[in-house]
Amino acid sequence: MKVVVWGTRGSLASPGPDTARYGGNTSCVEVRADDGTVLVLDAGTGIRRLGMQLPPSLPRVDLLLSHLHMDHIQGLGFFAPLQRPNMDVRIWGPPSTTLDLRSRLIRYLSPPLFPVHLRDLACCLTLQEIAGGHFDIGPFKVESGLVCHPGTTLGYRIEAGAASMAYLPDHELRLGAVSLDGDPAWISGFDLVRGVDVLIHDAQYTAAEYDGHSGWGHSTTDEVVRFAARAGVRHVVLFHHSPDHDDATLDRLVADAARLAPPGLTVTAAAEGTAYTIAETR
């Protein structure tokens, strides 16, 4: 399994010389199995470059949306496979409590916000509504679960053979966990991340920045390290970087976070273009 980061930023794309190393595009991650099956996690602005490098010969791609906040769908209309007539594109994502997935997507993919209507895309498009639960895509075993973030938001656990990764790009641990040290049954997302090789997790704030942002749906760097350590994760990747955090700031935050990690837990920060290879057979 190979995991490639195409967009790291939360809330708003923030390109510029100060964010060039970690990247300015919003959330998008590619997960590729050894047999070539491709999953795309979220459709932030990073999905545009990913779409361009997917070969036209690829018959199918599955896009798993965590939720429908703008920073996770803004690149969708610019995902090249949507305009390929022979491409089978399946979009998996959550409904809201009152609208189905199609109605929610059309709010963005229709005029006046976007010139092309969802029904006019050239690809063979299938929408798969999910609100948690298990499904298989090729060699991938996918577990999805609702996590603590405003609106309906899914986290994903993806396994292929012995390899496992989890993706919780927007997740507020402070509200979602009764206690990070207490019974794991009362910690949002715990079963999704338990023991994974790589966890890509929201770490938008420092502890100081969280003050005044309770309920905004995001976690702090130190909480993410505690959560990952508690769940037996091997490598936690800090993700959904604040648009206000430039490269120098992120260097400092990840160094501080890494000092909190117990032996056996690696802490890094997501940077555009970084790839993680996880062995499917051991």
Binding site: P95, L146, G176, P184, W186, S188, D191
Partner: protein, 131 residues
């Protein structure tokens, strides 16, 4: 213990900062949590009570009507909310485990999450000092 649904975790989080007594159960009726204000009315700390099945919590507090006649479990608002999946209101007497008789008023409602997932039910209640 399986992971609780996010709606249940968030309900507990809300209950933990409410001054109103709150009692939270899963779809099978198993008590998952009651908050500190509820501890005062029920006469027991949640840490001591722990999780318990509906058969136990619906009887140990000896719910009864004004004439002292025991109420069957299926008539309790929280059990109605669970079994019929609708909000219910009622009032009755209970014996707290501190051996104090209290008249309480209860509003119970099902917790139904996105995609119509029935994930549990909650009762909020008040001790009625009026009688």
């Amino acid at each position: 213990m399986a992971q609780h649904e996010i709606e249940i975790i968030l309900t507990r989080q809300l209950a933990s900062c409410m001054a109103t007594p709150v009692f939270l159960v899963d779809p099978a009726g198993t008590l998952l949590y009651f908050n500190e204000p509820a501890e005062r009315v029920l006469g027991q700390r949640f840490d001591e009570a722990g999780e318990m099945p509906v058969e136990r919590w619906s009887t140990i507090f000896s719910p009864m009507d004004a004439a002292g006649v025991p109420l069957p479990a299926e008539s309790l608002p929280l059990v109605v909310a669970l079994t019929e999946c609708r909000p219910t209101h009622g009032h009755f007497w209970i014996h707290g485990l501190d051996h104090t008789l209290r008249r309480i008023e209860v509003t119970a409602f099902p917790i139904v999450g996105v995609a119509d997932r029935f994930v549990g039910a909650v009762a909020i209640f008040w001790e009625d000092p009026g009688e």
